[in-house]
Amino acid sequence: MEAIGTLLRLIWELAVYLVTVLPDMLPIILFLATPLALGALCGVLGERSGVVNIGIEGIMLMAAFFGYLTGFALHNVIGSGASLALGIVVAVFVGALLGLVHAWLTVSVRADQIIAGTMMNIAAFGVTGYLNRLIITPSGLGGAGVIAPFHLPDAVGNLPLIGPVLVMFFDQGPIAMSVLFIVIVLQIALFRTKWGLRTRAVGEHPKAADTVGIDVYRQRYQNVIFGCALAGLAGAFLTLESTGSFQNGMTGGRGFIALAAMIFGRWTPLGAFGGALLFGTATALGVVINVRVPEGDLGTVLKSIPTFWYAALPYLMTIVILAGVVGRSTPPAADGVPYIKEGKS
């Protein structure tokens, strides 16, 4: 009886603690959710048109590397600001280029989509590791640093209630700041425009779409390439806005967590963003609990959980969410199925 009482008290204290730290956590949550959200949007765009892409992880890694390499090579020539901006452009371009490769493999060659994605992940790991060892490590030099985040005036941040929310979305670097905008635009585009209707038609019933004159191949190419450009932006975020350096395999499974966020969000941009925020929160919790240790028994309990468990939390949560959600959400009907136009073999 006493144990239950203690447990209830701890849960209550945890709730109070979370509410008190939440305002400070919000910007960290969006910061951590940014690459996941962009990756998840890449997944949404592809799968809505019928192309599965498990190579998001690899595309992010490649874009992160080449974005970093651009800043690394040019910051002494054109200054760090310009080289960082150019790095973002390069990363997005690399993402789009790899999207073209994936689209060609899955749409035109009709290679197995899961294997094509696996190939992308291994290739990215190899190419970035290879070039890192060949070019960056022996030079012993650093990169161009990170893009300076924008700071809201304190007066705005101190506003009651909306202050922390404004800080969450605007006290960020340019990529994190643009995520919400991209999500909203894509949500509207996917469900309110001709392009969105075509995308969904191609993903649900390509043959019917073809009969009414929609070019299935073109639509799928477009979506995969554009989606992968967003994954490229996620890569740029990792090296140019977040860490300012490149490590081998630094994406650390984010491309796959993004896929879980996509499934959690039922293949909608807004839902995927929600999923990404959830994973961001799980990660942020591990950070905040170590920085602002709660007082009393709760602090003792939370500190007694090893940091490695907090670090593993997002991965374990992905599994739990997938197991809980998948059976109850329906993917696009033609997801993962190559389309063979009649009369073609």
Binding site: I54, I122, G129, A323
Partner: protein
Amino acid sequence: MSRLRSGARQIWQVASIPLLAIVLAFIVAAVVIVVSSLFTSTGFEPLLPLAAYASLLAGAFGSGTGIANTLVAAAPLILGGLAVGLGFKAGLFNIGVAGQFLVGAFSAAVVGANLADAPAAIGVPAAMVAGALGGAAFGFIPGFLKARTGAHEVVTTIMLNNAAVLLLTWAVNDLVRAPGFSFPRTGPIGNSALPILLGRNLHLGIPLAVLTVFAVRWLLDRTTLGFEIRTVGQNPNAARYAGMRPIFITALTMTLSGLLAGVAGAIQMLGVIGFYAPGITASVGFDSIAVALLGRSNPIGILFAAILFGAFRAGAPLMQIETSVPVEVIDIIQALVILFLAADLIVRRVFRIRAPKVEITELKTVTQSWAGTASGTPPP
């Protein structure tokens, strides 16, 4: 004579695309090496790929030590390749070999260290079984989740790989850290080490891995379970109508696949590494996928593919030392091999051949189950 010729033709039909895919991968990787040499201090070196491949070959086969290293590197790849291949047969894609390998290696290291002073006849089997069970348990989780909830193994196994690295690091730091070492690691395995059969490093795990090839072949071709696994892989719905239990087979196959990966970790631990420390990386994970695809998920094919990739891994360090070409070029070659197998159209066009398609048909089930059409509702 004509029988000989038709036999040769049969082998060519099966092996031509995989072999040509490897040739093409080496050609493209050579271009990568030449182009990237432009960005190094030595400048443009058109002959660098030849030098690199020569020392790769020398490192892998050029000496007794080289051949021994190749076989030692091949052993875990044989088991890992079988793990992925067995999954393919049931329409499952186990990308979790890396994690199952680590859990197997860790379990074997802990049990081995505890039985370090026991006779080898007890310590070695006990540590091996621990590794196998650890891997099996870690394979069971995604298998069970896939079977019961439809959570796709491609995502869950990758997440488990990441979680395994972190949780095992914690376990070595806080639970089983051996005293008297300057860094967190498990204790010495003493008598539990796999016996060395020949030379300096040819351990018992190598013949064991080869025997497993034939065991898996027997399982798939000669047993009812193997038949059920293959039927579920070809068509889960048909399997269900025939009275089989796709859900049970899915969970069991994933567990067996994890078991094989766990044994791979155990033989690597007890035959080569000797103790578990954080930072042990498992390139076995990705290598196993390439091996299984190259071997067309056929156990005998996997044996040859594993020896090939074992040779790459064994020869790569010498290549990096002698020619400064980074060892990661092996990963690039691996990805290219998979690319040319997945898109064998490219190989056909380049070499103008008419071999039959090499696709592993069960992969269709893997991809379809992503969207839930294979396990639940019938395809539209």
